[in-house]
Amino acid sequence: MKRVNAVVIGAGAGGGIVAKELSMAGLSVVLLERGKWYTPYDCRKDDLRNQRTAVLGNAFGPEDHGNPRVWVDPAGAEHIALPSDGIYQNNAACVGGGTFSYGAMAWRYLPQDFRMKSTYGRPEGSSLEDWPIGYDDLEPFYEKAEYEIGISGDYSGTPFHGPRRRPLPMPPLPPNREFEILEPAAKRLGLHPFHIPMARNAVPYNGRGSCMRCRWCVGFACEVDAKNGSQNTVIPTALSTGNCELRTKCMVKEILTDNGGSARGVAYFDADGHLQEQPSDIVVVSACAIESARLLLNSKSRLFPNGMGNRYDQVGRNLQGHHYTGAVGYFDFDTYDDIGPGASIAVTDYNHGTPGLCGGGLLANEFIRLPIQMIDRMPSDTPRWGLGHKRAMRDFYKRNIVVMGPTQQIPAADARVTLDSTVRDKWGLPVARISGNVHPHTFEIGKKQADRAAAWLKETGAVSISRFAGKGVLVSAGQHQAGTCRMGDDPRSSVVNKQCQIHDVDNVFVIDSSVHVTNGGFNPALTIMAIAYYASEALLRNWKGTQFRS
């Protein structure tokens, strides 16, 4: 196979941007994606088979057949998980990755989020650490992501955000009823509510129209193409340069190394299941935290007997996501207006600065709820079945508001991805084995956040409120998974350097959420995108003609 300058593994938020940046700079790029390039027709807004409610399977990959994982319960017992099981920690397997079907909140992390250890100290038993880069390093790239991907929203209502040079390129969507109910209550509590930044067209942008405000957003593909992901922005741009080739349904087996310890390309199974080798000058791993770690661990060779980048047993550690907690308020008037995407208002007052707590998270109202998502979110005194349950569905479906948020997790080194010694996927590759949990302090923060959500709902006039702040049996790292190839200056405690380059392999980069040292109290998509722009620029600075040198 013809040698190319770069192989990018994974066509999601990170990989799509890297492919675009490199191919625009004139490098030849092969973008490998294990999933397909789906369309809305592949799901047709199926309430039971989408990327959020997967009781009949995931609409946008991976399929249940041949893609198992193993998870370990607190007692140490191992269980097989299928992609449609919640405990699998699935994101997606498709062109666009998670951004094809996400809710599309597009947050910048706060400056403190990059300095968690300096701000709070390291809780005992945790692996809390500072990033080797700061908010200021990423600011220009956050801005680039906001303009190239297309973000709507309005930060003007809150002082709790990092400095920014330009406003968002699009105004927010007009408020829905929940916004109008929640906003005055938040202000009475002295909070600073504002419009959530969203990767969603509120006005025509990038040659596509604006959101039609339907009921099917998070978990679904957008039928009016107003939701912005890598599949309708950077990937088409990359392909239009003529320098980038996208190969779908290709599962990378391993990164191949030469005798000098550099990568010489990748081995992958093509759409027909045949093993292929693609030689390249550099390899970029953008397969999302769990699969990126698994690929590095599966890339064993004489020089890297424990997997690439894993000399100090760091690959796969510090797996984290977000600990979602909050509250549901039940009302005696209609709060539901059937206007999507639903999530509209947030406060970031609670992300930092609470004495005794290491951080916090944003609080926002939840996306519009399909009936199937309500069945287990009834007031606590509702019977779980029978006429009582049916009547409660009727009474409360249009009369409830969920306020919740992604509590920043305090990472722990033994929340991790390893390879399972016996279970194989359909290509015969060892599958990811997920074990451990985040540091218990996370649950204290989560509980506090749930109380705050409840207080907000109480001020809003909810007649009853139920909180949810459960502690999971396993690290919660689904769509927001991060941290498994930590960025750092010290090779003994991290996997990649500031440029997302693996410490002991010059021409292999990890550019996705795996490099997040901590994951903020925010949905991570925009940060993944900003890092992809930032790392691509660093990579191109070091690119010499047809060779890469560091």
């Binding site: 047709r44 807004k45 199926d46 309430d47 039971l48 009781v55 009949l56 399977g57 249940d64 449609s84 006005v203 025509p204 942008y205 040659g207 596509r208 129209g209 604006s210 039609m212 405000r213 339907c214 009921r215 009016v224 059937d338 009936p371 199937i372 309500m374 069945i375 779980r384 079945w385 029978g386 006429l387 349950h389 049916k390 009547r391 569905m393 009727r394 479906y397 249009k398």
Partner: protein, 173 residues
């Protein structure tokens, strides 16, 4: 027991001709469930979602949903269903000397409560599948004609106009 799915496969293997194949009668209207299974399951589902001004679970097609998925996405639950439904009848016969389907509404309620206590794993399975079938997408056989959505006051399909923009200029025409 020859249910529809097994029958289709069997006729294909036997290479039976079109007319001969389809003329044969199956024993059950269901793909996986036997007629008796279906009656028992109806009794349980209709306790989980009974009829009031709006249909019960089985009236809304929940059995079609469960039955279809038992030979598709829920194949791994086949054994649990057969065992669970048998156990339900056993409970009913022990207490009332009747199959569950023949019991009075009061008796059915007692038995379903007993299943929830004694066989919680099976109960949770049936409960979640019943709620999925009733409140989920009608394309899978349940929620007939979107009846549960109407019950909740959702207009389906929702009314949404298309954008009247000139995308080239980004403005309204």
């Amino acid at each position: 027991m020859l249910t529809r799915r097994r029958f289709v496969t069997a006729s294909a293997i036997a290479g039976a001709g079109l007319a001969a194949g389809c003329a044969a009668r199956k024993n059950s209207a269901w793909e996986f469930l036997s007629e008796k299974d279906a009656r028992t399951l109806t009794a349980i589902c209709d306790q989980i979602i009974p009829a009031d001004d709006f249909p019960s679970a089985s009236q809304a097609g929940v059995l079609t949903y469960v039955d279809r998925q038992l030979v598709r996405h829920f194949q791994r639950f086949q054994k649990a269903y057969i065992k669970g439904l048998n156990h339900a009848n056993l409970l009913s016969r022990k207490r009332f000397s009747l199959d569950l389907a023949e019991a009075t509404p009061q008796q059915k309620l007692q038995i379903v409560s007993a299943i929830e206590q004694q066989n919680p794993e099976f109960f949770e399975l049936v409960r979640s599948h019943t709620l999925q079938g009733y409140y989920g997408s009608p394309r899978h056989g349940g929620n007939r004609e979107g009846v549960s959505w109407r019950m909740l006051g959702l207009s389906e399909p929702p009314i949404r106009g298309s954008a009247q923009y000139d995308l080239a200029s980004g403005s309204r025409p």
